[in-house]
């Protein structure tokens, strides 16, 4: 509890520094206090967010504020997600709908799941699909998701993706889904809805500056003007190998019962930096075993 309180306070301290305060004011103006409260509340409710880099957390929250979208995850407009040691900005499908409707150019923008038997005719030439909506659909399996928009000038368009296509999309663009966790794994429904809405808007809709920012910042760690898509970066086999070897060395050190055991990993440890966890563990174990000897 004390440790948690210290971490909360350190985030509060971070937000209260004059440079950060000025930055907040320039983006949200009079809503400064509301912004600080919402960031503090978000961080207090999510232990993983307390451990991420504060600059990335602040930048992600600031993007949400600049789009005037709440970051309360229960509302589903925008999310701040811990990923590795960074905070990632993530749009919800409701956020995209909100921004689109605000532009005043949309008469309708909607998204829904599609259940078994609800696909009628599929016009391959126009790419349009006719849907036959069931009344009693709760027990039917979801086979895909469709987003639909109609602009005030009468232009209308829909975009449909099957659950298989959406799974493949998630696999392709989210390293965490490949590893079996993250939003795609936990909330496939929301991520699928967001994907079809985002793709429909990106392809066919007039994009306001805010919508462009939202599309670019979605799933990114924000560093100044740059967007880094950490979750979309390919997993590097070299990194996997290094992590595994590191874990194996640590396990060996912990299990070493004699100096001879410990010496087996000396060369591997000597190749590491003295700041490395395994290097420190080796030194500590060496001292313990030498003392016993």
């Amino acid at each position: 509890m004390t440790e948690l309180a210290t971490k909360q306070q350190s985030i509060a301290e971070f937000l209260s520094s004059p440079v950060i305060q000025k930055n907040i004011e320039s983006v949200v103006g009079e809503r400064k206090q509301q912004f600080i409260t919402s960031v503090a509340s978000l961080v207090n409710s999510n232990e993983a967010l307390q451990r991420v880099d504060r600059k990335s957390l602040f930048a992600a929250c600031l993007v949400a504020a600049s789009l005037d979208l709440p970051i309360n995850p229960n509302l589903g407009f925008a999310y701040i997600i811990p990923y590795k040691d960074q905070a990632q900005f993530q749009m919800g499908y409701k956020g995209f709908i909100q921004l689109a409707m605000r532009s005043g150019q949309f008469q309708t923008l909607n998204v829904t799941d599609v259940r078994e038997g609800e696909i009628g005719a599929n016009n391959r030439l126009s790419g349009e699909i006719e849907f036959v909506w069931s009344d009693d659909r709760d027990n039917l399996a979801i086979i895909g998701y469709v987003a639909y928009m109609r602009l005030t000038n009468g232009f209308e368009k829909s975009l449909y993706m099957t659950t298989k296509e959406l799974t493949q999309h998630g696999m392709k663009f989210s390293a965490s889904m490949k590893k079996g966790y993250g939003l795609w794994k936990d909330d496939f429904n929301s991520m699928s809805k967001k994907t079809v809405v985002k793709m429909l808007l990106s392809k066919y809709a007039p994009m306001t500056t805010q919508m462009q920012t939202a599309a670019l910042a979605d799933q990114a760690v924000i560093e100044g003007e740059k967007y880094k898509y950490l979750d979309n970066e390919a997993i590097r086999p070299e990194e996997v190998a290094t992590e595994k070897e590191q874990a194996r060395i640590l396990k060996h050190i912990a299990n070493s019962k004699s100096m001879d055991d410990l010496e087996l990993c000396r060369n591997a440890v000597e190749a590491l930096s003295i700041e490395d966890e395994a290097y420190k563990a080796f030194s500590a174990k060496f001292d313990v075993l030498a003392h016993l000897k």
Binding site: K164, K178, V240, K244, A271
Partner: protein
Amino acid sequence: MNTVDFSKQKFHPSSLKLLMTNSRTKSEPLSETAKGCLHEIYIEEVFSRRKTISSAAMKKGTAVETDSLELLQTVTGEVYFKNQETIENEYLIGTPDVIDKKNNKIVDIKSSWDIWSYSRVTGDSALKDYAWQLKGYMWLTETRSSQLVYALVNTPEFIIDDELYKMSFTLPPNTDMEQFRPNFIFDDIPSEMRIKQFEVAYFEEDILELRSRLDLCREYLSTLKL
């Protein structure tokens, strides 16, 4: 473009398999395979262009090296850790997988892609492909024995997912891709069946042969043009 003195060129032991292939004619000491390899080295050194080859099997080989060493430990009790040090001598430069200083030995570990490629590994095929590489490493590390190890370990999830994703485009829609996942997982097979070990002995004559062949390679490199 770089100015390179090829008379001091150092070679990677992994290229020895190609450089040491014998020519079909006695009048020509270097084989066409060796010449092809030397052309690539020439382009890399002079024009800083390197052919990038990346395959799922290569990714697996890199990612599971520790798993293979762990499996070897389970089966034989030999505890080895990955060597990180790059070593060079007058002719070679490289990073052997394992240097066992205590037993004056190097170990090179190969992680097979799947059960089918693993089952095809025999002493003859393994030594044909890698004996010169191991001899090169022994020369480089001044060790006097070496071991070539083949291991069959699980493919990491992120590589399986990539493979299943790619495969899904070649199969009928709605194919259950998960049925193929067991093809990438092997821990149901007894550990001792998943390790194959081959010894490569050290002979001074091999080192003399390497030295003389690499001299020819250096000479050939200095004659090359784009």
